[in-house]
């Protein structure tokens, strides 16, 4: 009997290790993101060239030992730009998701915990946001704000707010009924403390799962927006814009300009999705 209570004391860690071992693909996802993040952080150290260094005489070189991923129309080394691009894209992903999370959870908490009118107002607002196809709404916001990195992050963040708001509100409403909330209030705690200390930590678990998936979609949306010119602009090394730079050259055979940055987008998004799937398996024990 005592052995079991010890096991109970550390369930999340034990379960996490167990499930990670049984899900090597999720582990791969985490490893991949860590690798990309590391590449981004270490970019100034390991990139052979500056991402903005142009060399017109070396334009459109195919991949070689000197230029691992070839060069683009300005002679910039694509491998270096891809590394620096990791910084930009991961910043967009984490930044947009963080903003959406904070804003969404605040709105959701306000809706879930306050009176009916606030709840109705906030939820109708979320309905309106979600009535638009998300990429098209992002296009509208990005176009309205103008092309820049900051505005890109804002556009991507805004289209994700509704998901977090709903999630937070639902969990909060469910947990609000819970006995321990009543018990805590019985002990003379003011509602604010009850909310922060008891209820919010319990709502955070599905939010982590969502965040991982949203990070992937954030990169896709940001790359798509940059691709059509509504995000960051040339010459910023962002993977979406880099793909755009190679579009016209496909027909003359310079495939590497678009291929490598696009591949990186795909890898990053896939890795985030694998992590998100693995996390949801962790939290929902019936799905193995």
């Amino acid at each position: 009997m005592s052995a079991s209570s010890e096991a109970r004391a550390h369930p999340p860690l034990g379960d996490a290790v167990y499930l990670l071992r049984r899900n090597p693909i999720t582990l791969a996802g985490i490893a991949l993101i860590a690798l990309i993040a590391l590449a981004g952080v270490a970019a100034p150290l390991i990139a052979p060239a500056s991402p903005l260094a142009t060399d017109p005489s070396a334009a459109f070189q195919p991949p070689s030992v000197r230029h691992l991923m070839g060069t683009d129309e300005f002679g910039e080394d694509i491998w270096s730009r891809v590394l620096w691009g990791a910084r930009v894209d991961l910043t967009i992903a984490f930044g947009a998701v963080a903003i959406a999370l904070v804003l969404g959870c605040a709105l959701g908490a306000a809706a879930g915990f306050s009176g009916r009118w606030t709840d109705e107002l906030v939820m109708r607002g979320m309905d309106v946001l979600q009535a638009f196809p998300s990429f098209i709404l992002a296009m509208g916001i990005a176009a309205a704000l103008g092309p820049s990195l900051r505005n890109l992050i804002i556009s991507v963040a805004l289209i994700n707010v509704a998901v977090y708001a709903r999630l937070m509100r639902t969990r909060l409403l469910v947990v609000k009924q819970a006995l321990y909330a009543t018990a805590a209030r019985g002990a003379g705690n003011p509602p604010w403390r009850v909310l922060v200390v008891h209820l919010i930590p319990n709502c955070l678990t599905p939010i982590f799962v969502q965040s991982s998936l949203q990070s992937g979609y954030a990169i896709l949306t940001a790359a798509g927006l940059s691709f059509i010119g509504l995000g960051v602009r040339v010459p910023t090394p962002e993977w979406g814009v880099m793909v755009a730079m190679g579009v016209a050259r496909i027909t003359i055979g310079a495939w590497w300009v678009s291929f490598f940055p696009g591949m990186c987008i795909g890898l990053a998004v896939m890795a985030f999705n694998l992590i998100g799937d693995g996390l949801s398996d962790l939290l929902d024990p019936q799905r193995r």
Partner: protein, 320 residues
């Protein structure tokens, strides 16, 4: 008729493979109602599902035999087992409404079963279906045929399930807690229905329940289950008059008896978790007769008298 021989089932859990059934042995006499009684979590439903080879994913049959007419069902290939289910053994379940497919009307499944198992034409199957529904006591069978499960009450759904089982014309019926989810008044009706059908058709029934009153009502022979083992097996009158196993005695004493002023006495302690089985006999932490051998090794089935078997080291010392 149907003999379960040393059936063992394990569950794959986070802590590894955990045994859930430890050598279940019992016999269903032909044309009789055999009860399988025990508390929640003792493994009754697992036994039934294992016999039907419908164990859900974490469960695995790890040993033993299920003999039906000289064949071991556990060795059959999937296709062969599909032909056994329904045609030779039918099963009805605890949650009747959840056991009916919600997007089809009753007629659809009933006609399908009748056409499959009895080779009837569509029109004949429809007529026979209505006749079956009438036989299980449903008023307005034509309306029920057109209805969907969510239109029907729990009791009506259970009658439909019984009708589906009858449609298969099997000789064996496994009834897994058929009345547990129903209202008390409806329970009595379903019990009466089952008893009537059993007598009329000579069905061999395995009745799984935790309700001793139900057992007393309609069972001929009873198996008592605890922690994945059959701990006592006896004809029903014998079990109620002279129970041998301390667990059975405890169950008897914990019933509310009408006309008696004695208060029910609960069994101290709780049913152990699968992963934390006590050593030796699993009942020993709660047993009034416990002795040193009970902690060391599990008991083996012993004969008390004809037809009465008990699995306990010290049943003699408790015999009143």
């Amino acid at each position: 008729m149907l003999t379960v021989d040393d059936l063992r089932v394990t569950l794959r859990t986070r802590q590894g493979a955990v045994p859930a059934l430890h050598g279940v042995t019992m016999t269903l006499a032909e044309g009789a109602v055999t009860g399988l009684v025990g508390e929640s979590g003792c493994g009754k439903t697992l036994t039934a599902l294992a016999i039907m080879r419908l164990l859900p994913a974490p469960g695995e049959i790890s040993g033993g035999h299920v003999w039906l007419d000289g064949r071991d069902l556990l060795t059959l290939r999937d296709r062969a087992m599909d032909r056994v289910r329904g045609a030779e053994i039918a099963m009805i379940f605890q949650q009747p409404r959840a056991s009916l497919n919600p997007v089809f009307p009753i007629a659809f499944q009933l006609i399908h079963v009748l056409r499959l198992h009895r080779g009837l034409s569509a029109r004949a199957a429809r007529a026979e279906g209505e006749a079956l529904l009438a036989r299980v006591g449903l008023p307005r069978p034509d309306a029920v045929m057109r209805a969907y499960p969510h239109h029907l009450s729990g009791g009506m759904c259970q009658r439909v399930m019984i009708a589906l089982a009858l449609a298969c014309r099997s000789r064996v019926l496994v009834a897994d807690e058929p009345t547990t989810a129903l209202d008390v008044t409806v329970q009595l009706q379903i019990v009466e229905l089952l008893r009537g059908l059993q007598r009329e058709l000579g069905l061999t029934i395995l009745l799984i329940t935790h309700d001793l009153g139900l057992v007393a009502e309609i069972c001929d022979h009873v198996n008592v289950m605890y922690a994945g083992r059959i701990v006592e097996s006896a004809p029903v009158s014998r079990l109620f008059r002279r129970p041998a196993h301390p667990y059975t005695r405890g169950l008897m004493a914990s019933r509310v008896r009408s006309g008696s002023r004695a208060l029910p006495v609960g069994i101290p302690g709780r049913v152990p978790e699968l992963a934390q089985m006590p050593t030796g006999c699993p009942f020993h932490p709660r047993c009034p007769l416990v002795g040193p051998e009970c902690v060391e090794r599990d008991a083996v089935p012993e004969l008390v008298e004809d037809g009465h078997v008990v699995r306990c080291h010290r049943w003699r010392s408790g015999a009143a």
